[in-house]
Symmetry: C2
């Protein structure tokens, strides 16, 4: 695409321009907004983003021009934690939880993650691709242009690899950028219930080397929880991943403290995800180790809980927080980043600005892509949204609104 | 439109067929679902809704056929409480509330409803129509086919009438059915602060007769609250409305008990709306008087509160509950009925079936339209949705999903 694209008449351009690192503390409120702005794109990359008065002269005569009609333009959303690939859904368990069953009770009775595992194992690669594409399209419609997605509903070689291949194919077909994470350590499958160590050793010694060699994942994740892996078990898997060049993300302290965050700090993971039960001491460890907390308020909401992660305390601690959907069929059937922004403002007292940065630039850094996406600056990929409104705060304010942003990835408009 | 329309290959047809009255108690769980179904429409009305095997023979040769691809079909949503027409938005107050300001504090400082009143008074009829159309389109996108909408941001003759004219024009232009409610008794405007009785007398003796004579509203509403009208003040307005043939809806017990529900019962109002603070005794009064409670969980959520109306107790009491968005720029910037369904399941423990009936058939009855819309039965208007999924529970389960149902009103597909 050698064509130039100029987006003009941007009422409010939210660039997030600034230092090349994730934002912490007060920086989380600094959006680097330009009014009466324009965006100039060449070959899918941003050439200039700023005041129209300054950019006007740079627009080549033959450039394709898009009128933003005075509306707000932001970077595309980066969803740094999702479980995009799965078969079936668990709408019946949603109904059971309304009747009072807890997530843990449902899991103990053969429902929950293990039910999705059974359905996913039974699904073909083409079936999984079709479902993953459907979910990807939902995310795309609400403005997500980069998605982290995990395996973890296979818990056996064939299905884990199938899930990762589906993600690789989805990434290859584009336009949404997909970053893959191996989550074979989501839990120990029933057939290994009496020989847990054997399952974990298999991940560490066979699956991880195979996945790493085939470049089927960039990250490795482990779910530390009473109903999943102990910290020691996660340690075994994650250190193996490091040896094979995978970077780390850890499901930590979702329901109980001391379930993984310290391990994430010890191993220098990119992220520790969930953290609803994290203590102040733990946050300090994450800070020292440079681990980014990925907050998943959608799962708190969908489980009907009220204990959200302590986002304000994390910001005070100097952590570069990230917001993500945790999209999955059990604890977070939420595909929409705008809804996550609303929830973060209402339930974790983030300002709309802090929430927006956490779901774009900071999320991009947590995926090692902060140099390519997450803000609108010269040299970066032209992944951006033209919204239906003129003030970025409306993203969080109009809760669950059926808004339809115009979505551009690498400078090309996408519709789904 | 003399053309016949056949919708075939409906995996799950949620008809809500049954007795011609609102549903109470266990009936709220009875969806009258037909699998492998079809829908036959002539001249905008439903001719038959049921098993494809039975309907097949009735489809005329020249009928237009739509393939529902095995998906779920439900009635269009009926939103029985909204404030569709207003100028400006209050995204900045959303931010202030995150910082800890209460809805009442913001109102006391000149923000809140009075701020919207100032902006709405300053807007022309064309400006208001454009904004109302935008909001109407959001609702339509998520599947709402009938909307109740109120005046109440004028609090003076010209603007109240302008808002009602906007609603009349929106109804006339179609396709969404709009039912108008006069809410000049939303609060007493500042210029009447020292002569409240005079304002209420003006509504009762001048505005109501004029609005009723011009047929600009079918209902009259009053906001009973510490920051709005006392019960006696509301009584004055509502009895005048009755004398002029308007039916009644009452904003009652939102923040404190004994603020309007008993009055709604005494006057035989169609609905008492909000009821977060309603007691068991009050619910009994509503039951005896046949008043339908309109529950507005969106405003509880958007205000960051946790006290939702006691929906389960209302169902036990035998009340024909209704769910609605309360769409407005302050306490409920929520346009999506599907999100209200999710919230009702998660926060008020309604089942997905109970929630769906409350936002369709029961809502239609609360607007005196139960004989025309709200279910899919022969003789009713063909207002229906073809969803992207095959199980109605997914509506509530996929929280804030950017779903795009195909929307039909009077048998004609609508896109916005």
């Amino acid at each position: 695409m050698a064509e130039s694209l100029a987006v003009i008449n941007i009422g409010q351009l939210v660039t997030l321009a600034g230092a090349a690192r994730p934002r912490v503390g007060e920086e989380l409120g600094e959006l680097a907004i330009v009014m009466d702005a324009a965006l100039l794109v060449e070959e899918g990359s941003i050439v200039a983003a700023g005041a129209y008065a300054e950019i006007k002269a740079k627009i080549p005569p033959g450039a394709k021009t898009i009128d933003a009609e005075g509306h707000c333009v932001t970077p595309g959303f980066v969803d740094a934690h999702s479980h995009l690939v799965f078969a079936g859904n668990r709408a019946d368990e949603f109904e059971q939880r309304i009747d009072g069953a807890s997530y843990q009770q449902i899991a103990a009775e053969g429902g929950g993650i293990l039910r999705t595992v059974r359905m996913t194992r039974a699904a073909s690669e083409e079936e999984l691709l079709a479902v993953a594409r459907r979910h990807r399209n939902w995310m795309l419609r609400s403005g997500t242009t980069t998605i982290e997605a995990k395996s973890g509903y296979g818990l056996e070689r064939a299905t884990e690899l199938r899930m990762l291949r589906v993600l690789a194919r989805l990434n290859a077909e584009g336009p949404v950028r997909i970053v893959s994470t191996l989550l074979a350590a989501h839990m120990v499958p029933p057939e290994f219930a009496d020989r847990r160590a054997e399952y974990l050793r298999w991940i560490a010694e066979e699956l991880i080397p195979e996945v790493a060699a085939a470049k089927l994942a960039r990250y490795c994740d482990a779910f530390c929880d009473d109903h999943a892996l102990s910290v020691d078990e996660a340690h075994c898997v994650l250190t193996a991943a490091m040896r094979h060049g995978l970077r780390l993300r850890v499901h930590a302290e979702q329901f109980r403290e001391n379930t993984g965050a310290a391990l994430a700090a010890e191993l220098g993971a990119a992220t520790a995800d969930h953290l609803e039960a994290a203590t102040g001491e733990t946050l300090g460890l994450l800070r020292k180790a440079g681990v980014q907390p990925v907050l998943l308020p959608g799962s708190v909401f969908a489980l009907g809980h009220e204990r959200y992660p302590q986002a304000r305390k994390m910001i005070e601690t100097g952590l570069a927080i990230v917001l993500a959907t945790d999209f999955n069929p059990g604890s977070s059937p939420v595909a929409s980043i705008p809804f996550i922004l609303s929830l973060s403002c209402l339930k974790m007292r983030l300002t709309p600005a802090e929430a927006l940065i956490s779901a774009t630039l900071n999320a991009a850094y947590s995926l090692g892509m902060g140099d390519r996406v997450g803000s609108l600056e010269a040299g970066k990929e032209a992944d951006f949204l033209i919204h239906e409104f003129s003030d970025y705060r409306e993203l969080a304010y109009f809760i669950a609104a059926p808004l339809r942003p115009r979505v551009f990835i690498a400078g090309t408009e996408v519709t789904r």
